[in-house]
């Protein structure tokens, strides 16, 4: 869960980006997506676009639905767009369960819950022509939007949880997450960690590389033993962290204020420090990341408007506007070729660099069924992760 | 300022002597007390009398230590206490509104000073009982102050101060909040307690009758200074300034011009109304008498006395006061508008500067 807690006044600068995480998990894209069978309610898909309804109610991260592009949509379709900004994935799930909303910008740690709960309907991608070849490979067919061969989401954008460091203190570029995990780190006491149960996956990514004996194949598919190992690593890290961050503003001030010299970050946060001394790297172990997608409520009373919106926002220009506004890699690669500014944005956020995102494990709700394909054990679910996370800080 | 007592005490120093030398107190631009000298010998009951704002309470608070002096020194028993904080001075105070601690019982209030001195509960209980007994309030000792009447609280405040056996007891208008009858009872009680304990009492009041009744000496304050200090009789009968004459009861101030016409000496005199006789035609006057003629302007019956106000030809209004006798027939028999003569013996008047 990412908490996108808005700190009102304080954070004016950062407010725009306050929304953080998103979702989706993935694994090696080939292995997990299609192959895995998960029990989900069987819901009908929308057959064809009919007459537009009057209005469209969207639960969104702040910055995803803005008048800059929703006004034009209303002009084109006559669908009035009503936005409800949510602060966390949990809040989004709760809001979607009221049945009052048509669409949600679901993140990976919310999407599986929504799909499994029957809260969102499978999509007819034929009705979203902009969801085409230009959608980056890494965002197609991921577990967050494709279950049992059915698509549930239209991708919006993605980002990685990177290792940021203060190059005045950390003079040599770190190649491994070990500076953030090992007790003998030279930066002990100046390390920042992400403050959410999903951060357990970051420990699992590190263990995948350094403790192969544990047999972790997917950081979101941990059996009890593997979870315990991840928690042990987190407890070890707890002794050397300066603080945990959930609020982007807090993360930026922690680096800027000197409390922290190395730790988990996003590209957009580094950019917002506006200070060249802060650099970032995607370490050799790879990392976790997040990816957001539009999802359609199973109880939507404006499906035609909703499909139109998903298509509209998947167009390169609009998708790019959202991505630039929020600070993430856009889902539609066609945006990157629009102009120099778009190109620079895509480069900065590695939008089309699939090699880069191959190393990224997008956030996915952990469930009891092991999404790495194992059937001989039961994996730990998100509730267990949450309970375990609370023991890290004690 | 040459009272006989002060003169005798000046030479030797006793523990209860209070001596102020050149004391000045200013509050911002306002001077409350100006260059004041005052000597109070051990065992004296001194009243500081004056209108509000005359500086008397400020002097008391400086003796207690609640106010610093701006300049000058304060000695008690010869020891310079000018810079000693209040809790280390050998004086105790009875406050105008008693200042009993509302959360402590009467016995605890009275015991407070002993407790502060570190006396154990068992040691102090006898002293507390007898202090409360001295003011005859044994039956209220376990009550809280708000359950007591004003007079009872006043007596407890007295007991609380006296239990510490101070060398000097300061009383800041302690009877001011009591009704007249209770006040008179308390005056007698205060006087007898003072006689009993034999310590110096310095008593602030604006009630001239109270001051005259209680005190060995009265210091009359005006405008930050002592206008006159002396025994009750001295300040009453022989006021040295017009202020004192007017502040202490009623007074006839005869201007120099009039006195010169009558006696040949150009001086202002003050004469008390009860010293002025209302003459009938038959009444004789002696050579010492000063006689004036006038018209009865007003007749005021006060109970024990009758006052007759007489306007003289040169615009002076004189007050005469006569004791009423048992028989109305014997009382003053004049009417408004009657032509009368008034007279007083020159010895009974005081010459003012």
């Amino acid at each position: 869960m990412k908490s996108r807690f808005f700190t009102g006044a304080a954070v004016v600068a950062v407010a725009a980006l306050a929304l953080t995480g998103c979702t989706a998990s993935a694994d090696e894209s080939d292995s997990a997506g299609g192959a895995l069978k998960i029990d989900v309610p069987d819901l009908p898909t929308h057959e064809k676009i009919g007459d537009f309804e009057d209005s469209l109610d969207i639960v969104a991260w702040s910055g995803f639905v803005e008048p800059a592009w929703s006004d034009d949509f209303t002009k084109e379709t006559g669908c009035t767009v009503n936005r409800r900004v949510a602060g966390t994935s949990d809040e989004m799930v709760q809001l979607m369960r009221t049945g009052d909303y048509d669409l949600v910008t679901a993140s990976g740690d919310a999407s599986l819950r929504l799909i499994a709960g029957g809260d969102v309907a499978p999509l007819n991608l034929d009705l979203v022509p902009n969801f085409g070849d230009d959608i980056v490979e890494g965002m197609k067919g991921q577990i967050y939007d494709t279950i049992n061969g059915k698509s549930y989401g239209v991708p919006i954008g993605r980002g990685a949880n990177i290792l940021q460091y203060n190059s005045e203190v950390v003079t040599e570029e770190p190649t491994s997450w070990s500076v953030a995990w090992e007790p003998d780190s030279p930066y002990a006491g100046q390390i920042i960690a992400y403050d959410a149960p999903i951060y357990i996956a970051d420990a699992a990514v590190y263990l995948m590389a350094h403790e192969p004996d544990l047999g972790i194949k997917n950081p979101y598919a941990l059996d009890k033993e593997q979870l315990a190992a991840a928690i042990d690593l987190l407890k070890q890290q707890n002794k050397i962290v300066s603080e945990y961050w959930a609020d982007p503003a807090a993360q930026i001030t922690s680096f800027a204020g000197g409390n922290t010299v190395v730790g988990t970050s996003w590209e957009i946060l580094r950019k917002l420090t506006e200070d060249e001394k802060f650099k970032s790297v995607l370490p050799e172990e790879g990392s976790t990341g997040w990816s957001d997608a539009w999802m359609l409520s199973a109880e939507s009373d404006s499906p035609n408007c909703a499909y139109a919106w998903m298509d509209y926002t998947s167009a390169p220009e609009v998708n790019g506007q959202i991505a630039m506004g929020f600070g993430m890699a856009p889902a539609n690669a066609a945006f990157c070729d629009l102009n120099d500014e778009a190109k620079a944005h895509c480069d900065y956020f590695n939008a089309t660099d699939e090699e880069y995102f191959k190393k990224v494990w997008f956030w996915t709700t952990p469930i009891e069924q092991c999404i790495d394909g194992r059937t001989d054990v039961q994996c730990t679910n998100f509730q267990e992760w949450t309970d375990a996370w609370l023991t890290v800080k004690g | 300022m040459s009272s006989p007592i002060a003169a005798t005490m000046a030479s030797t120093t006793a523990a209860g002597d209070v001596s102020l030398t050149g004391v000045t107190k200013t509050f911002g631009d306002m001077t409350a007390v100006r260059d004041l000298d005052l000597n109070v010998p051990q065992g004296e009951f001194l009243s500081m009398l004056g209108p509000s704002g005359s500086g008397k309470t400020t002097v008391l608070r400086m003796i207690a230590g609640f106010e610093d002096t701006t300049s000058g020194s304060i000695r008690i028993g010869g020891e310079d206490l000018t810079r000693v904080p209040p809790h280390q001075r050998p004086v105790n105070t009875v406050f105008q509104d008693y200042a009993l601690f509302p959360h402590l019982t009467i016995a605890e209030n009275v015991a407070y000073g002993l407790r502060v001195r570190g006396q154990s509960k068992s040691d102090r209980s006898d002293a507390v009982s007898s202090a409360i007994a001295q003011v005859r309030l044994e039956h209220v000792s376990s009550r809280l102050p708000h359950q007591l009447s004003g007079g009872q609280r006043q007596r407890i405040a007295l007991a609380r101060a006296l239990i510490l056996r101070p060398r000097v007891l300061l009383l800041d208008e302690p009877l001011g909040a009591l009704d007249k009858q209770l006040r008179e009872e308390m005056q007698i009680e205060l006087k007898s307690i003072q006689r009993e304990v034999g310590i110096t009492f310095i008593f602030v009041t604006h009630d001239q009758e109270e001051a005259l009744t209680l005190s060995d000496r009265v210091a009359v304050f005006n405008n930050g200074r002592i206008e006159q200090i002396g025994t009750a009789r001295e300040v009453y009968e022989y006021p040295q300034t017009e202020f004192v004459a007017r502040f202490l009861g009623l007074s006839n101030i005869i201007p120099a011009r009039t006195v010169e016409q009558l006696t040949g000496q150009a001086r202002v005199v003050s004469v008390r109304p009860e010293r002025v006789r209302l003459l009938t035609d038959a009444d004789a006057t002696s050579g010492n008498d000063i006689v004036l003629a006038g018209t009865v302007a007003e007749i005021v019956y006060t109970g024990p006395t009758t006052r007759v106000l007489v306007d003289t030809a040169d615009g002076l209004r004189l007050i005469t006061e006569t004791q009423n006798s048992h028989h109305p027939a014997a009382d003053v028999e004049v009417r408004r508008g009657d032509r009368v003569r008034v007279a007083w013996t020159d010895d009974h008047s005081a010459t003012l500067p």
Binding site: A10, D90 | P86, F95, L100, F101
Partner: protein, 275 residues
């Protein structure tokens, strides 16, 4: 009859507020504490289980967090008292009127600003390159960085007005001559404070402490922003509120229990009647 109607009219809104909103939501919260959650969809299912409460005791992390939160709340309350009493005495009895006015504004100033603004201000103050280290660094003093200590200082800063204002008002209302009388009877300043001032302002201190104590118990934003790795009861409730409402509800009972115990213990002193 008419009087009754009037009375009903008078009480309608407060009763609706108290019973309808306040009590009802509290009861709903308590009821939820006995329900269960579907582990996958995190949908709440009515039922009856004591497991959520069992967790509070069995789970060492929950227990230590509860204890830590209690200690933080007590420390904040104690610190607020330690600051408020001397400050109140200074303002009420020593300070010149202009300084008194200035201090009154300074004390209430935090109430004018937004809660998050204040927390973030404290965050900025206590960063390694922040004001605290800048000001005290030259004297060899290093700040507590982000830690439990910083949480206590921040909460003290946040809640001080709730203690300082009633305490100052109470001291101001003490008759001046009680101070004189105590000094006159031989008591020094500390003795007067201990034996006269403190007993007389006890109701104000208790009133203030109810605020500082319960507000501190419920807070978690301070822990989040200036606590480094500090976790409080509120942090756990916030983590569970959407995902596992029953556990959050069960945990919400803990601060309520602390406050009830606290109220009962101050009530025994008789202080509440004088509030």
């Amino acid at each position: 009859m008419k009087r009754r109607t009037q009375l009903a009219g008078l009480l309608a809104l407060p009763m609706f507020w108290l019973v309808g909103i306040y009590i009802f939501s509290l009861i709903m919260l308590l009821a939820t504490a006995f329900w269960t959650t579907d582990p996958f969809t995190s949908k709440v299912k009515p039922g009856f289980t004591l497991r959520n409460f069992e967790q509070l005791i069995v789970n060492p992390a929950y227990l230590s967090t509860a204890v830590r939160t209690l200690l933080i709340a007590l420390a904040v309350t104690a610190l607020c008292m330690l600051i408020s009493v001397p400050l109140g005495i200074f303002m009420a009895k020593i300070a010149k009127p202009w300084l008194r006015g200035l201090l009154a504004v300074a004390i209430t100033l935090p109430l004018w600003a937004g809660y998050l603004v204040k927390i973030l201000a404290m965050r900025v103050t206590f960063t390694d390159e922040g004001f605290f280290n800048w000001a005290l660094g030259p004297f060899g003093i290093t700040g507590p960085s982000f830690s439990v200590t910083t949480v206590i200082l921040t909460l003290t800063y946040l809640w001080l007005p709730y203690m300082a204002i009633p305490v100052y008002t109470a001291i101001r209302q003490l008759p001046a001559n009680l101070f004189d009388a105590s000094a006159d009877l031989g008591a020094g300043a500390w003795r007067t404070i201990r034996t006269i001032v403190l007993p007389l302002i006890k109701p104000a201190i208790i009133a203030g402490s109810i605020f500082t104590f319960s507000l501190s118990l419920g807070d978690y934003i301070a822990a989040k922003f200036v606590g480094g790795s500090t976790q409080m009861i509120g942090s756990i409730i916030a983590s569970n509120i959407n995902l596992n409402p029953p556990v959050a509800a069960a945990f919400a009972v803990v601060p309520i229990a602390f406050v009830v115990v606290y109220l009962l213990s101050v009530q025994r002193t008789g202080a509440l009647e004088r509030m």
